[in-house]
Symmetry: C2
Subunit: 657 residues, 2 copies
């Protein structure tokens, strides 16, 4: 008998897999053919739905079986994730040649609901565009004195760890895996890329704790990955060096990796942040990042594992007085010369923008500039800079824009992320998983876009709403979520200028918070103008890191898109945008509009009382209070700041403090 569907602890939100989502399946007769752990998971889903709604499920019935409404059939064992879907003669059939495909096929049927059982539909092939669809958890095992249990986590504690130990609540981990499988995610890194002392031991003497998590995620087709310290051979192995070309170091990694695979045979691989923000790395030994990544790739290669090497390398001891050094340039400058040098099982994991998950950045020029390297694109579901799951900010449109970015105007959507799409996870032990109940939409959307980067994000949003809430509140929810990223952008940092958050915790406005900091994040606002000149002609040259046409588009303020203008150019406050407005008036207008839009969204949410379950609704009301307070603070600080600097009054005479 397969394990039952994981039980949620009292009060924990079912997210996009509430019982009702299974009504269509649960009222039907289903046949499941095939065997294996993931087929068992599919079986458990159907069995639970049938127990609730009165349908029937049969496993591996013989030829004389009665007619079925749904057949899920495994026709191979090749480990692939694709499935076919067809409806003919009143029967819906899903076939797959790998177990994961069968499970994904079932969730496809669940998403379709009654539509899966009506009419006819010719055979369709479904396969993920990206083989790796991954969540990175920035979870610490031990509570970090500054960063806490989850670094940049806004959803309570960790699902995996608590106060130095594994939580042990594997039922909740199983439930998490189930949610992830239902949106197509197939890989999870279970600890923070900043690997502290306690966490380093997960690789060796504490690998059993990782194996237990892997065991809970495996039935949902999810492979477990581990963030490791580049200095592990020294910290854990007692070697005098971590030099990637040193034979003893290579042997140590080979041995350590072999032992990992003894405990976790389908282990996904390592995630490494090296030579970045204080983490150790190959630079200390005069080696390149390719040397570093290939060291771990070699250790993983015999077992089919992958190393994810983060490209987030820059000088965080920059001097604000030096206007030539540009943090935005760093990843490209560091990594492009290494194209072709990375092993085939080394993935270079690149943040979608050149800075750090700002509300608006251009797509990183590194993406597309390393054709001979497996690149993964990293986004951040956890909203560090976009409201920290206290503000509604649905990031689907942002991520879709990134994925649709054509480096040379030709490339296929998503093809630049052939090493995978990775999100910093936004889930924690919060009853709603993600702090704000509506932030679940980001997690779901991420998984679906990773499966199909060319999907229409609005369609994904509708899908999430229908699964999570049913059809009742759909219009209202669409209204509050659909434009929420643009709204957030309006009341925060304008025109792509970037960091204007409070230092440290990164919540709320502080226009000059990083203006004189060593973190390399400046806006250079003075009494005449604002923005960073990153042109090739007069600035830092960052714009020239792009292929044509983008290097030309970004080079000139005349062609640069308005929303990126201050990222690429320092312009005067009376510079006229393509919109016809001056920069200063744009700042005022968007900030007033942004707050008004939050006020409207809050009204809509309030009006949904009665059609949304009370706990969710109450949490949302509380969060909207804070969002509105914070949006007003942003509006007033940004407007006052630029009014004080520019001296230009608002053309509409609204109140600026």
């Amino acid at each position: 008998m397969p394990l039952p569907v994981p039980a949620l602890p009292e009060g924990v939100d079912p997210a996009w897999l509430p019982p009702d989502a299974f009504r269509a399946v649960g009222t039907r007769r289903t046949l499941i053919r095939g065997s294996g752990l993931l087929v068992d998971s599919a079986h458990a889903e159907v069995a639970e739905a049938c127990a609730r709604f009165g349908g029937r499920v049969v496993r591996d019935a013989g030829p004389g079986a009665p007619p079925y409404d749904l057949v899920l059939e495994l026709r191979g064992t090749d480990g692939t994730e694709a499935f076919t879907y067809v409806r003919e003669g009143g029967r819906t059939t899903v076939t797959a040649s790998g177990q994961a495909g069968l499970l994904y096929g079932l969730f496809h049927v669940v998403r379709l609901g009654e539509d899966a059982f009506t009419g006819e539909r010719p055979q369709e092939e479904h396969r993920p565009a990206l083989a790796l669809r991954m969540l990175d958890h920035w979870d610490n095992v031990a509570v970090h004195p500054v960063m806490g249990q989850v670094e940049r986590g806004y959803a309570g504690g960790s699902l995996f760890w608590q106060d130095g130990r594994a939580r042990g609540d594997l039922e909740r981990v199983r439930a998490y895996g189930r949610l992830l499988a239902a949106c197509g995610i197939n890989a999870v890194a279970v600890n923070n890329v900043n690997v502290h002392d306690t966490e380093a031991h997960l690789l060796t003497d504490r690998i059993g704790e990782v194996a237990a998590i892997a065991g809970a995620l495996r039935p949902y087709g999810i492979r477990t990955h581990l963030s490791v310290s580049f200095a592990a051979p020294m910290v854990l192995g007692g070697l005098p060096t971590a030099d990637p070309l040193d034979a003893s170091v290579r042997a140590w990694w080979a041995g350590a990796t072999a032992r990992v695979y003894e405990d976790i045979e389908d282990f996904g691989g390592y995630v490494v942040k090296a030579d970045s923000e204080g983490q150790p790395g190959p630079f200390a030994y005069g080696r390149s990042h390719a040397d570093g990544a290939n060291l771990l790739a070699a250790a993983l290669e015999p077992y089919g594992g992958t190393v994810h090497w983060r490209a987030f390398v820059y000088d965080h001891r920059q001097d604000w007085r030096d206007r030539t050094t540009d943090r935005a340039r760093a990843a490209y400058d560091h990594f492009v010369p290494l194209d072709g040098e990375f092993a085939s099982n080394a993935v270079l994991q690149v943040k979608h923008g050149p800075m750090d998950f700002q509300v608006r950045e251009p797509v990183s020029p590194l993406i597309g500039a390393m054709p001979r390297t497996r690149l993964a694109v990293e986004v951040q579901a956890s909203q560090e800079y976009t409201g920290q799951q206290r503000h509604v900010c649905w990031l689907g449109p942002m991520w879709s824009e990134v994925l649709r970015f054509r480096v040379d105007g030709e490339t296929e959507v998503g093809s630049l992320a052939r090493g995978g799409l990775v999100a910093v996870s936004n889930a924690g032990d919060d009853p709603f998983w993600t702090g704000h109940p509506l932030a679940q939409a980001n997690l779901y959307t991420f998984g679906r876009l990773a499966w199909r980067p060319d999907a229409d994000p609005d369609g994904v949003l509708d899908e999430w709403i229908r699964l999570t809430f049913g059809t009742g509140p759909a219009t209202g929810l669409r209204a509050v979520l659909d434009g929420s990223w643009r709204t957030y952008e309006k009341y925060t940092a304008p025109l792509g200028v970037g960091f204007m958050v409070q230092p440290g915790h990164h919540y709320g406005p502080s226009v000059d918070g990083y203006e004189y900091s060593p973190w390399g994040t400046y806006h250079f606002a003075d009494r005449d103008g604002v923005g960073v000149d990153r042109s090739a002609a007069t600035g830092t040259g960052f714009a020239a890191q792009y292929a044509k046409p983008w290097c030309e588009v970004y080079e000139s303020p005349d062609t640069c898109p308005d929303e990126q203008l201050l990222f690429f150019h320092h312009v005067s406050y009376d510079h006229v945008l393509h919109s016809g407005k001056t920069v200063i008036q744009h700042i005022y207008d968007t900030h007033f509009e942004g707050v008004e839009e939050v006020e409207e969204a809050r009204e809509v949410w309030v009006s949904l009382a009665g059609v949304i379950d009370p706990a969710r609704h109450a949490r949302g009301v509380e969060r909207y209070e804070e969002q509105l307070r914070s949006a007003r603070e942003w509006r007033d600080q940004i407007n006052s700041y630029f009014f004080r600097k520019s001296g230009v009054p608002d053309a509409q005479g609204r109140r600026i403090y």
Copy 2:
């Protein structure tokens, strides 16, 4: 036999009581007459000095005794602190009618050194101008998650507490008491005025730990005080209220206080921060601060104890948009109406300035405005806003200016602080006691100014240098210390404008760090000018809180002293100061000068290698590196900030980034 002079742990600096400071006494023959704990302490000092330098000490010798060079004679037991000093017939005699006076007299002789034993000197009366000369320790018992072991402490851990427990190292506490007695301090509050959960228990079940500290300090004439929570009857006593007029609350305090005095018969009293920065207080019950203070005063009164009630009350949830609310006004507005309502053993403890220990503030208008209230003036030795004991900033001149401030042009120096002078202590378990070895000068100077507020601070500085370092490096040390407050002021926030520090830790520049904060600390810099209009005519009215002539002096930019200008007025960058310079040029000039002065001071310090002991010198070198780095950062950020805003170039064409 009396307890010996406390032994310093290996590596701990002897500060202003090195063995050499006792050379003159130690080579003489001394007679000590009288008995008691403090006489024993004096005896131990002389005995140790004689053991080292070959002199002799006799206790209570009869009439036939041989001639003595020094006689210390107790002629009463009245507990007073005064002593007489006379030198005649080749003999130096100190007499006192209280034990403490005798001990202070001995330290007076030590300070005089050989001068105490040469020539003749008519009888002098020495008595402290202020009866209470107190240090408040902001030490936590348990390490606070944000503030650490010592809130705003820059000298390592606490001398009293460690990781939730009393340290137990009473020998170091004794050594601390001895240092304090030698500069005239007679009261210590042993825990933070922000009383957290653990610390609240010191009042009741953990009073034994306080008693042990009191026992170590008592031989040096120091009474121990305790910071308590106003909510103690609820937190500790389980009462439903802490209402100061509630009979059960009054009974609870009476009982708790009686038990304190059972353990510590000379207990000094309570220190309370109520209704301030989140601490509980009488406002919750609709009672006044006088009601609150008198509650505790009544409990302490039978035993001769005192309550120190801090007047640091303001709205720390202020809205920066509201330019009428002025934090500077708050203490006066809250407390002046209560003049005459405080019990005679209630002391209102007032920060010297109206804001928060800034490098430059006017004297608080509250001081002098409550003639029927015992007021204590509070200064901050720990340099929270003046370099945190990483920068040399000798505060003697600042404190002297405060003490010499004549509210009405008539009052006697120091008389306004008749409730005492209190400093936030700058000492911790650092080997040099105070982080920077030169920061010891602040602690010493504080004690001496509390004894004699009209003392010339430069004379006190010379005294400290001579005791601590001997005569060798005196010129150099005077050079680096004497103007160090002015130097610090030059490279930091200009013209009394106040807060421009980084939020949270308060170290280093952040011009807008508190500009949009709820803490009520703004400079209102825009493209035209800077400063806070606190005039009565057009501003917040704060200037009118002063008596004449000050309300008139401060009211107009024409008469307001330059160094306070931006505290009282918002002026344009081209406003011409009394110095003849424009505000903007003053900003540039002082910031360049300040850094140059640090460079010079550092050179002087470096040149003292060989005449200062190596450990002290090395620590100083390390601190000067940091001071210089930080001063340059201040210079460049402040100059760039105001250049970006004003657009006015430096008249001397120096580099502004």
